[in-house]
């Protein structure tokens, strides 16, 4: 069959997004599609893996291979797929509850491995699909359905964790800044290694505090000032900056061999293309160890 021209339109999924009108996730979806067009990646070479939550419905809305997996498990499923076929561009997506709550253990360990995959978190600081409970990034004092007297727990600092843990591309985006976000996503997919983009993606229904105007008043772009994204300590400092000024952009980038580069079995090409079974001589050799 003739290859379809790669456009935003050709990347549309079979169904329209079911997000609330105004949801930040629309912006993230559009920027992801734009990044794929910009990088000229054929959609069949993209595998989008998500967990469960509003934002995790994204794979259904884009024309690419996808796994809409279990709550919190996007990263291990993505990891298994990436190791099985490292020719695929694997993009994991999901929300802050999915990634930093139930999936936190996987988040940390996936970054340690520096796998060549991209993780986009649509961070709205609330559980949306379950109608508005406190999430791991909900700010202190924020009243939600599950914290009627105000949240007493400190929010997770995903970017600081990422930098400390070994992610080699760490960025923060805002769905209200689509041009920058497209660039960040394209950079992440092109990056060899684990890339994290934590995206402020406001929930217009259940988070009346961290709204578009709230972010617009506070965010500033790192690329507008003098900033060196190769400087680990500077990145760590920026990752913790919060309050009246919140940085967005590429915080940290570092080149090092990926997990796939260092795995000897993968030097012979993608696992999925390798022959199955064991030859007679090799079989006899390993059996002889037991005699």
């Amino acid at each position: 069959m003739a290859t379809v021209e790669l456009t935003l339109k050709s990347l549309e999924g079979p169904v329209d997004p079911d997000w609330c009108p105004g949801c930040g996730d629309f912006g993230v979806l559009k920027c992801l599609k734009e990044a794929i067009v910009e990088l000229k990646i054929a959609p069949h070479n993209v595998l989008v893996v998500s967990g469960i939550g509003c934002s995790s419905n994204l794979p259904g809305f884009i024309h690419a291979y996808g796994v809409h997996s279990l709550h919190g498990r996007a990263l291990p499923v993505a990891t298994g797929a990436a190791l099985a076929n490292h020719d695929l561009h694997v993009v994991a997506v999901g929300g802050d509850g999915d990634g930093f709550g139930i999936g936190m253990g996987h988040f940390i360990h996936a970054m340690r491995r520096n796998l060549n995959l991209t993780y986009i978190v649509m961070d709205n600081e609330v559980y949306g699909l379950t109608t508005g409970q406190a999430s791991p990034t909900t700010t202190e004092g924020h009243k939600t359905k599950s914290t009627p007297r105000g949240n007493v727990e400190k929010p997770i600092q995903p970017l600081a964790l990422a930098i400390a843990t070994g992610a080699t591309y760490v960025a923060r985006g805002f769905s209200g800044e689509p041009k920058q976000l497209t660039k960040l996503i394209a950079g992440a997919i092109a990056h060899k290694g684990f890339s994290l983009i934590d995206v402020f993606s406001p929930c217009v229904t259940f988070n009346k505090i961290n709204t578009y105007p709230w972010f617009k008043e506070r965010v500033y772009k790192l690329e507008d000032g003098p900033y060196d994204s190769a400087d680990l300590m500077a990145a760590m400092e920026k990752s913790l900056e919060w309050g009246s000024r919140i940085p967005i952009g590429l915080l940290y980038r570092h080149e090092k061999p990926t997990y796939e580069d260092t795995e000897p079995v993968l030097t012979k090409g993608p696992l999925v293309d390798q022959p199955l079974g064991v030859g007679r001589e090799l079989f006899a050799e390993v059996l002889a160890e037991t005699m």
Binding site: T3, Y65, H68, R73, P76
Partner: protein, 696 residues
């Protein structure tokens, strides 16, 4: 009658017992004998009591049997605990420079073979204490009529990397032990016919790993957990050589999801764990069922519940495997019966997983997973059938007209040909929410009961296809037997042997064994069992999980369930004796047995008496404490045999009623009176007073 013996090696973890057992096992295997080893060990790196039994035989053996021919004890404890188990015609080997063996413990007709170790090895340089094992092994080789040179060759290979000096010293010590025994003791009666056919000595874990790679496994993920860790270790060590990617992950949640991710991308993937890890994998196993991803999961069961008995065997995870994860989804559960079967089960598991696009659970257990036996090399071929199921390589004109590739096409078999992510024109999304033929969700906003019904039926329909492919169960042994013993998984061999013992005792017995647990051949099982005279399920679980499963699937209720749940595997005589009891219409005795009271006493001595005592005499006396009979256990000092007191253990509940120095006030009698009077417990002892008098 074929010649066979059982050698028991007792010691503490760290005594080098495994190495000695390994050398003996390899020697036997090179001589062409069959063997089975059972290691009753504990979750300790050093210390504790380890008890390794090696059954060496001219014919194939797949359990450790009922006998003990030679005891090799590497410490004092081993002599005290196991000397009395040695059978007439047998022998006890120990280092007489360090330990002594109370002649009262030695049965008639058993030879004591003390080895005066420092003298024996004079002139061989500085001898490490652990090398007492090698001298004992040399003496053993003489007693059981094994070829010393075969063992010397194995030691040569073992110590090759450590240099000639170490090799010479070890072989020197081996020869010294052998020469000493040959000079002083006659060999036992072992008329071996050595075939010298070399066979692999393997475990079930090993065979699952080897079967998996022979069957095309390319991806293995795991989190360390006994008793499944060997699969991880073996595959990791052979990863590059065999081309299988091995990934240790942060927890079993990740392990299962990694394997599913890899399976979804198109490689044969497997993971293994034990019960606790399997519990964490459960949700994802359901995902594999829902998104129709092939994956193989191995549960090497250990004693439960919870952390349970990490180093002991049980078949207690059957309910968990059947019930793993929410909702109904197609799954296959298989339980291999021995090491050879583990190899073929792994191969079959991948073929079923890919043909039917579903999770396959292999249930093994610690006994099968960790215990070593010989297998015939011709029974484990390198080239095995690999069936990858139906695949789509390009978009069909039909699908092109109808909204694209249907990943979950509704088909008569329930199997929808799958496409590998990365293929042009076949893009789809797999969702854990229920979905239509294209994979589009029919869950939240746009639920559709009609599509849901047909999709659910499609998935479950695959089970009919699986069932039709599996070999139904069949009776083994004489038809019309007086009793039919029913088992599943790893108990096959021990039940075969128990049935043979019953047959020899004049009770006609046969076996109905189940390897395929789910889907189950309910109608076939029912037809067979209805024609049986007496039926007894034999299983290593407390509640008889298999008996209940059998009833649920076949409607057949067995006459009796014979369970064992103390962490130990069945032995043939253990089964045969209890079967006789049940056939006689009597219940199985669940009272604390004498050897169990002794084990309880050892526990007390270790925890509360710094190991200074040992139990000397035991006597069951009626009615004390909760109104139950009690075991009075006389404790004496290990060094000088002076009385240390008496331990009182409930014979029904097993309650520890405390221990009493010198004069046992609890029982109102001196210990000598209890052990020497014929009446046992004196009348008038106050039963209610007992629990309050706990010594600790």
């Amino acid at each position: 009658m074929a010649t066979e013996i059982t050698v028991g090696i007792a010691g503490a973890a760290g005594d080098g017992l495994d190495r000695t057992g390994d050398t003996l096992a390899r020697t036997a295997a090179r001589l062409g004998l069959h063997l089975y080893t059972y290691n009753s060990y504990q979750s300790l790196i050093r210390g504790g009591h380890t008890w390794l039994r090696l059954r060496l035989a001219e014919e194939k053996v797949d359990n450790h049997g009922d006998h003990l021919t030679v005891l090799v004890s590497l410490n004092q404890d081993g002599l005290e605990r196991h000397a009395r188990e040695v059978e007439p015609g047998g022998a006890i080997i120990f280092n007489s420079a360090r330990f002594n063996c109370d002649p009262a413990l030695v049965p008639d007709g058993v030879a004591l073979v003390p080895l005066p170790l420092p003298d024996l090895t004079a002139g061989l340089g500085k001898i490490q204490p652990v090398m007492q094992n090698t001298a004992a092994l040399g003496a053993l080789l003489h007693l059981i009529g094994f070829d010393l040179e075969v063992t010397a060759e194995i030691l040569h290979e073992t110590f090759k990397k450590k240099g000639q000096e170490i090799i010479d010293q070890n072989i020197g010590v081996l020869r010294a032990g052998h020469a000493h025994a040959a000079k002083k003791f006659p060999a036992l009666d072992c008329p071996w016919k050595f075939s010298r056919k070399r066979r692999p000595v393997v475990t079930g874990n090993h065979m699952i790993a080897l079967g998996a790679v022979a069957g095309g496994c390319k991806f293995y993920s795991a989190y360390p957990m006994s008793p499944a860790s060997f699969i991880l270790h073996w595959l990791a060590a052979h990863s590059e050589q065999l081309g299988v990617l091995v990934k240790q992950a942060e927890d079993e949640l990740a392990v299962m999801n990694l394997a599913i991710g890899a399976g979804h991308a198109g490689v044969r993937s497997m993971c293994a764990t034990s019960g606790g890890g399997f519990a964490l994998m459960s949700e994802a196993i359901g995902m594999a069922g829902m998104i129709e991803t092939p994956v193989v999961v191995v549960n090497v069961q250990r004693g439960g519940p919870s952390t349970g008995l990490p180093t002991k065997t049980e078949q207690g995870d059957l309910n968990q495997a059947i019930g793993a994860s929410q909702g109904d989804f197609p799954r296959v559960i298989m339980a291999p019966r021995d090491a050879t079967d583990c190899f073929h089960t792994a191969v079959e598991a991948f073929n079923l997983a890919e043909t039917f696009q579903l999770p396959v659970i292999i249930i093994s257990d610690l006994l099968l997973g960790e215990h070593r036996s010989t297998v015939d090399p011709e029974a484990i071929p390198s080239q095995v059938p690999i069936e990858r199921g139906e695949w789509v390589e390009a978009l069909s004109p039909d699908d092109a007209q109808n909204g694209g590739y249907k990943r979950y096409a509704l088909t008569p078999s329930g199997v929808s040909p799958r496409a590998r992510p990365g293929r042009e024109g076949l893009i789809y999304v797999s969702g854990t929410d229920d979905h239509d033929e294209h994979g589009i969700l029919i869950s939240d906003e746009h639920t559709n009961p009609a599509i849901r019904r047909k999709m659910h039926e499609k998935r479950m329909r695959k089970m009919d296809g699986v069932r039709a492919r599996l070999q139904p169960p069949a009776l083994e042994g004489r038809a019309g037997a007086e009793v039919t013993l029913i088992g599943w998984g790893s108990t096959w061999s021990v039940i075969q042997e128990a049935a043979a013992q019953l047959n020899r005792a004049g009770i006609a017995a046969n076996q109905l064994h189940f390897k395929y647990i789910h889907p189950f051949h309910g109608a076939e099982a029912s037809a067979i069992l209805k024609a049986c005279r007496r039926t007894i399920v034999v299983e290593n679980s407390f509640s008889g999980q298999f008996a209940r499963h059998l009833r649920a699937e076949s409607g057949f209720t067995v006459d009796h369930v014979l369970t064992r749940y103390d962490g130990e595997p069945f032995e043939p005589a253990y089964i045969a004796e209890r079967v006789k009891t049940l056939l006689a219409g009597k219940p199985v005795d669940l009272e604390v047995q004498e050897h169990e009271a002794r084990e309880m006493a050892y526990h007390h001595i270790r925890i509360h008496m710094q190991d200074r005592a040992r139990p000397r005499r035991l006597r069951k006396v009626p009615g004390a404490a909760y109104g139950e009979p009690v075991w009075a256990v006389e404790l004496v000092n290990r060094a000088d045999a002076r009385p240390e007191g008496m331990l009182v253990i409930g014979a029904t509940t097993g309650a520890g009623y405390g221990w009493h120095q010198a004069v046992p006030s609890l029982l109102g009698e001196t210990s000598s009176a209890i052990f020497e009077s014929s009446a046992g417990l004196p009348a008038g002892a106050d039963p209610d007073a007992a629990p309050a008098k706990h010594a600790h």
